[in-house]
């Protein structure tokens, strides 16, 4: 069967792989989690993948993804990764516990986790399902249910992923660095991790999640993340997406926050042909803070899409959103930010801003703020700007002896500055500045 002749149905294609997948699960197919998979399979069979006709997907066509036949990681050949490669890929010079996911599957040998404060758990989803199912089962009502075909695809084939559990009162002192390596030499692989992060009452933690590619083929990362924050929990999550250029990245992340908790989600997006992040938070009690920051650099035909949804359900909460895009070539940057302020949610403060710089005439920006406010005593603001590099500032910098290309990249880094400055890990900040600089060098700087 040749892909380019027969137009296949993606839903059917993936559903047909399930029996084989199930057969490889061994005893684990009796766990509570497996019922999720079967439910998701039914959903996958019944729910078409989104098209431009879906309101939430109207700027992002996933057709290129659906034309390809991706093999779920647990059915594909194993991608060989050495510890030297891990050392060279992961960011240097900062103290962290390291978890390596290879095509979404926890790799114990490559991971390096020091002794953790008692009760903190960092383990594979597979292990947790078999050995400590009660840990995640307790929170299962708070976890997202699959809605789209991509969600269903993830859960159907979720053979592994990561579980992080910080019990009451504990502080995860060391940053947790998650390195997701995807790809294959001979196949086109579907990396499908399901990650669960639970921070109970009075806890703290910082997580850096780095996505990279390996091997000669393109691949699809289709990740689902769930965050649960108990009262007073403070959790910072930094996503740094640097997938291979011709690959695809779909991320669905949901957070559930309790009273007084602070959740900060950063999305730095550099790689991938299509990169979509869906991020949503329910602020289900008072005095909660939710911060979303994003920075994306795109060139050629790259397509970067952030969809956010902040759901203010209770009074006295605050949310801040700032997304900044730098778009070159024929790239397209999409931002859609929905803020819901429910009737109960008096004294809500909600801010949202999306700013883009276009470096070429052919780059495109779509930005769509959606405010739905049902309470009367609230402060909400949103704004979007699209601009070009400031010519007078460009001349000013050059007039001090700085060459044209460096002047341009200084201005771009200056534009990105307030997002990068929000990063609370000093070495990561440096790393990000470095990455921005490297990606800018790949961007054609024409005069």
């Amino acid at each position: 069967m040749s892909n380019n002749i027969k137009k296949f149905d993606a839903n059917e294609l993936y559903a047909s792989k399930f029996d084989l997948f199930e057969g490889k699960l061994n005893g684990e197919s009796k766990s509570f989690f497996h019922q999720y998979r079967k439910d998701a399979l039914n959903l996958l069979k019944a729910t078409p993948f989104p098209t431009l006709k879906h309101e939430e997907w109207k700027y992002t066509s996933v057709k290129p993804i659906l034309k390809k036949d991706f093999i779920p990681a647990s059915l594909a050949e194993k991608l060989e990764v050495t510890s030297e490669e891990v050392d060279s890929l992961k960011y240097k010079d900062y103290e962290s516990n390291l978890v390596v996911l290879v095509n979404g599957i926890f790799d114990k040998d490559l991971s390096k986790i020091d002794e953790l404060p008692s009760g903190i758990l960092i383990d594979s989803l597979k292990n947790v399902i078999v050995n400590k199912p009660e840990l995640v089962e307790r929170f299962k009502d708070k976890f997202q249910k699959a809605v789209t075909a991509f969600d269903a695809l993830n859960t159907t084939f979720a053979s592994d992923g990561l579980v992080v559990f910080i019990p009451k009162g504990k502080v995860m002192e060391k940053t947790l660095h998650i390195l997701s390596i995807s790809g294959s030499e001979n196949e086109t692989v579907l990396s499908n991790p399901r990650n669960i992060f639970i921070a109970e009452e009075n806890t703290e933690g910082k997580i850096v999640h780095q996505y990279v590619g390996k091997g000669s083929n393109y691949y699809l990362t289709n990740v689902v993340n769930d965050f649960y924050l108990g009262q007073n929990a403070i959790l910072d999550y930094y996503k740094i997406q640097d997938e291979k250029d011709e690959s695809y990245h779909i991320d669905k992340t949901d957070a559930y926050q309790n009273k007084n908790s602070v959740f900060s989600h950063f999305s730095f997006s550099f790689g991938g042909e299509i990169a979509r992040t869906d991020l949503s938070t329910i602020l289900d009690d008072e005095f909660i803070t939710t911060n979303y920051y994003g920075l994306y650099l795109a060139k050629d035909k790259q397509h970067v899409d952030h969809h956010t949804f902040v759901d203010h359900a209770k009074p006295n909460c605050e949310s801040n959103e700032l997304y900044k895009g730098i778009l070159d070539g024929e790239s397209r940057g999409v931002f859609s930010g929905k803020i819901m302020v429910r009737q109960d949610a008096q004294k809500t403060n909600a801010y949202q801003s999306n700013k883009s710089i276009l470096l070429s005439d052919n780059a495109v920006v779509d930005t769509k703020p959606q405010l739905e406010i049902f309470a009367d005593d609230v402060k909400c603001s949103h704004g979007a700007t699209i601009g070009r590099l400031d010519e007078t500032a460009y001349f000013y910098i050059r007039s001090r002896g700085v060459p044209a290309d460096l002047a341009k990249s200084m201005l771009i880094r200056a534009f990105a500055n307030d997002v990068v400055e929000g990063v609370k890990i000093e070495h990561l900040k440096e790393q990000l500045n470095h990455m921005i600089f490297e990606h800018l060098n790949q961007i054609e700087i024409e005069d």
Partner: protein
């Protein structure tokens, strides 16, 4: 040091400079005065290489090199400096980073190694003290939130840091209070030596009491219509520009 012959330039189809001649030698200070809109800032921008201004004729040499052929950054690296009439704000870049990058790029151009952080800090401290800028201003973003006078002071601070051969000061005195004017003038006087040159653009004779010029030129309608010594500035302060314009018209109408 600077030689300008019959320079003509326009902005957005409008002729501004209409054949300007000027020569400045090392060790000299020149002042240009002239009515609003006469082309003073245009001259400054053309010399600094602002691509928004189109040179339509004439030539300009800097130490014998064709200035009009060079990119703005190369003019700066060769030793030309423009203190802007309206300094630019750059959110996201601190003064310190800005100057460090500029200094090191200029050094690189001349085949020199980067300045050590220690030497850089020492230089900053020395020059900032000279011009009365405090540490917090140096770690702030370039000109962001600076008052009008602070921005002007910052221009002179940059000049002192980069130590150019030829400094063009475009209305650096406007917006400065009397004390700041003295400090800035003192900075310029400390900078002056027999090997460099300064061209100040100003509307006020007062500045020239502090930065004493060797020559004063009147720019009107795109040309230098009169040149003289510092006494000319007093005369202008007293009589305005009309008498020269009239005087200047006569020979043409003969």
């Amino acid at each position: 040091m600077i030689k300008i012959n019959n320079l003509q330039a326009r902005v957005e189809e409008k002729e501004i400079l209409k054949g300007l001649n000027l020569e400045i030698n090392p060790g000299e200070v020149h002042a240009i005065m002239g009515p609003n809109g006469s082309g003073k800032s245009t001259l400054a921008n053309v010399l600094a290489g602002n691509e928004g201004y189109e040179v339509t004729g004439g030539e300009a040499f800097f130490e014998g090199k064709d200035l009009l052929d060079m990119a703005p950054e190369d003019r700066a690296r060769e030793g030309l400096f423009l203190a802007f009439q309206y300094p630019i704000e750059i959110p996201g870049i601190t003064n310190a980073t800005f100057l460090k990058t500029a200094i090191n790029e200029i050094r690189k151009y001349h085949g020199k190694e980067e300045m050590s952080p220690k030497d850089f800090m020492a230089l900053i401290r020395e020059k900032a003290q000279l011009i009365g800028l405090n540490d917090t201003m140096i770690s702030r973003f370039v000109n962001v939130g600076f008052s009008g006078g602070e921005k002007k002071r910052n221009e002179i601070f940059q000049m002192l840091m980069l130590n150019p051969k030829f400094a063009l000061l475009d209305e650096t005195d406007s917006g400065l209070d009397i004390d700041a004017l003295k400090i800035v003038a003192e900075g310029v006087n400390k900078f002056r030596n027999k090997d460099n040159a300064v061209l100040v653009v100003t509307h006020y004779q007062r500045l020239l009491n502090y930065i004493v010029p060797d020559f004063v030129h009147v720019l009107s309608n795109g040309r230098i219509i009169k040149s003289g010594t510092k006494e000319l500035a007093y005369e202008l302060e007293e009589k305005g520009y009309d008498w020269i314009k009239d005087e200047n018209l006569q020979p043409e109408s003969v």
